[in-house]
């Protein structure tokens, strides 16, 4: 008890950090539009002490970050000590207050409350099962002085049981761990992503094909059908891309109704041949028209390139690539604002990127537990490797202890 209380002062730092993050979370939650109006009723369905706790505690934990750390230490401990913190007897003689101001406050924090209701109930067990090293360390030293600490709580929770943990704090720690895990997972993914993709590329693409009634089911015609479906999908994309393909596509669509039958039956050599064969002809002629359009389009584009290079050759008798002047004129002219915009960053893209990264890493190394770093980390997950984040996090926690 005694060493612990002496270290509360320095341990303010990570906790203040937490509350800083926590405020952000709350704000995020508040901004998210809630579609179900039953959040308040969800609050009502909670066990009474818990609801009271929510109502009393959430504004305080949001508004005043300074007194929070002292509580949060004690509360995390109590959560660990009592393994089922939320299963209080409902029969506790507590009536829900019909205070208007209280209800208003509840409505204001209803988003928050519901979120807690969802997250804590299922994650609390999880939290108890895998302790992070800091909580397991702090548990033996504090289990004895548990009650004395809890009594430091503000008097507003007098109607509650003295050791009922505020879910807000608990949720905070849970969330923090979750976030850490998330970061780890994402970075792992990004690391192994390259390998996976290469593996996937090497693997044979597994095709799901189902034969309809009357369609052939042997492997060759299945493969053939899969191939044709692939071609059709690509063709549709091309039709959207190439202007003037719609007319041809209309003809093609006529035949699409009857698609997928004729070729298989020819391949199968069955007796359906005469019936189904006419419509695919229309389909095929439609496909031919689409192909015509595509060929025309590609050729016209190629001709355009030829023409443009001819024009460039004529315009500039000696291709004097005086780059600076050309690009300056380009950005000055209102011809193509897109191009002028993209020309400017063209010059120093790598330099800028490298500079910003260096700057970032410098700051990272300088102040391991400086508050704004955490905010920055949230903004740019890309740079945070798991080792880095773990290391810096541990260092801040250790320095707090």
């Amino acid at each position: 008890m005694e060493p612990r209380s002496s270290t509360i002062g320095p341990s303010l730092d990570p906790n203040a950090l937490d509350s800083f993050q926590f405020n952000e979370e709350i704000q995020q939650l508040m901004t998210v539009p809630q579609e179900n109006a039953s959040s308040f009723t969800a609050l009502l369905e909670l066990p009474a002490p818990q609801a009271m706790e929510l109502l009393h505690h959430s504004p305080e934990s949001k508004d005043s970050a300074a007194p929070a750390p002292a509580h949060s230490n004690s509360h995390t401990v109590t959560v660990d000590a009592h393994h089922t913190p939320y299963h209080f007897p409902v029969g506790a003689n507590l009536t829900f207050p019909s205070n208007i101001a209280l209800i208003e406050r509840a409505a204001r924090f209803s988003v928050f409350a519901e979120n807690i209701n969802n997250t804590t109930t299922d994650k609390n067990n999880h939290n108890n099962n895998n302790h992070s090293p800091e909580t397991t360390e702090s548990l033996p030293s504090n289990s004895s002085g548990n009650l004395g600490k809890v009594k430091n709580e503000p008097a507003e929770s007098d109607s509650n049981k003295p050791n009922s943990p505020p879910p807000a704090e608990n949720k905070r720690s849970v969330k923090r761990k979750e976030r850490e895990k998330k970061v780890k997972v994402t970075t792992k993914k990004s690391k192994s992503g390259a390998n996976e993709s290469s593996e996937d590329a090497e693997k044979l693409p597994y095709v799901h094909v189902r034969a309809r009634r009357g369609q052939a089911t042997d492997s060759h015609s299945l493969a053939e059908r899969a191939r044709r479906e692939k071609i059709n999908a690509r063709m549709k994309l091309l039709q959207e891309l190439v202007p003037g393909c719609n007319k041809a596509a209309g003809l093609k669509r006529l035949g699409d109704k009857y698609s997928g039958l004729a070729l298989d039956q020819i391949a199968f050599g069955s007796h359906f041949i005469e019936i189904e064969i006419l419509m695919p002809i229309k389909k095929i002629s439609g496909t031919a028209l689409v192909l015509d359009e595509i060929i025309n389009h590609v050729q016209s584009l190629q001709r355009q390139v030829e023409f443009l290079s001819m024009r460039l050759a004529a315009v500039n008798p000696r291709i004097d690539v005086n780059l600076d002047s050309t690009l300056a004129v380009e950005s000055g002219s209102l011809m193509d604002s897109n191009l002028s915009n993209m020309v400017m960053p063209l010059m120093w893209p790598e330099v800028q990127v490298n500079a910003s990264r260096q700057q970032y890493q410098q700051q990272w190394h300088l102040d391991a537990h400086h508050q704004p770093v955490w905010g920055r980390e949230e903004e740019s997950h890309n740079f945070v490797t798991p080792e880095n984040s773990l290391l810096s996090y541990d260092s801040s926690a250790n320095s707090g202890r």
């Binding site: 044979l204 060759h220 493969a223 053939e224 191939r227 071609i231 690509r234 063709m235 994309l237 091309l238 190439v242 070729l263 020819i266 391949a267 199968f268 050599g269 041949i273 005469e274 064969i277 006419l278 695919p280 002809i281 095929i284 002629s285 031919a288 192909l291 015509d292 595509i294 060929i295 389009h297 590609v298 584009l301 190629q302 355009q304 390139v305 443009l308 290079s309 001819m310 460039l312 050759a313 004529a314 315009v315 500039n316 291709i319 690539v321 780059l323 002047s325 050309t326 690009l327 004129v329 380009e330 002219s333 011809m335 193509d336 897109n338 191009l339 993209m342 020309v343 960053p345 063209l346």
Partner: protein, 189 residues
């Protein structure tokens, strides 16, 4: 796929390198110059796809066949040149072609069995021929299309059209800019 603007950026960056090579070549008439410009633009376009597509690889391979184009290719691609020459992923393609061939033979056998006296089937084969002709034409239009099966041909055509459009955009604005610059120079003199 990347966004079109980044594609344009990449293309412009590489094309400027190519144009510098053009600048170093002296004593050309208009047509030779035009050829050089077009070649440089094509190679730049192909190299901005990073060798991910068949058509770009085929374009670069075609360009590096004659010595004039080789200069562009080496200049624009730089260190990537050797790397791109090495990697080739043809295994999957051959497998596809094998399946295709097998299915074609089965179709042909069935046709032989059933065709002789049926006008409808004849019409069908005529339509098939139409498509085949157009596919051949498309293969000749898209660079490297001779070596593609139908699925990848259509994919590559899609990609090729998109990159051609980007190329045209950049070239157009570049031409406009140089024209404006020339006009300014004329006014100054």
């Amino acid at each position: 796929m990347r966004s079109p603007s980044s594609l344009k950026q990449e293309f412009l960056k590489k094309w400027i390198l190519g144009l510098q090579v053009c600048n170093s070549l002296k004593n050309m008439n208009v047509f030779e110059r035009k050829k050089a410009i077009k070649l440089s633009a094509d190679v730049a376009m192909a190299s901005s796809r990073n060798g991910k597509t068949c058509w770009s690889r085929a374009l670069i391979a075609n360009a590096s066949r004659n010595d004039n184009g080789k200069e562009f290719v080496e200049k624009i691609l730089g260190s990537d040149y050797e790397r791109q020459n090495k990697n080739s992923t043809m295994s999957r393609r051959t497998r596809c072609r094998k399946i295709l061939k097998r299915s074609c033979t089965t179709i042909r056998k069935a046709m032989k069995r059933s065709t002789p006296s049926r006008p409808k089937v004849l019409a069908f084969s005529v339509a098939k021929k139409m498509i085949k002709k157009r596919t051949q034409l498309l293969k000749s239009v898209v660079p490297g299309g001779e070596f593609m099966d139908e699925v990848s041909l259509i994919e590559e055509t899609l990609d090729y059209i998109i990159s051609l459009r980007a190329q045209i955009d950049v070239m157009k604005s570049f031409a406009n800019a140089t024209e404006i610059e020339n006009r300014k120079k004329d006014q100054q003199w």
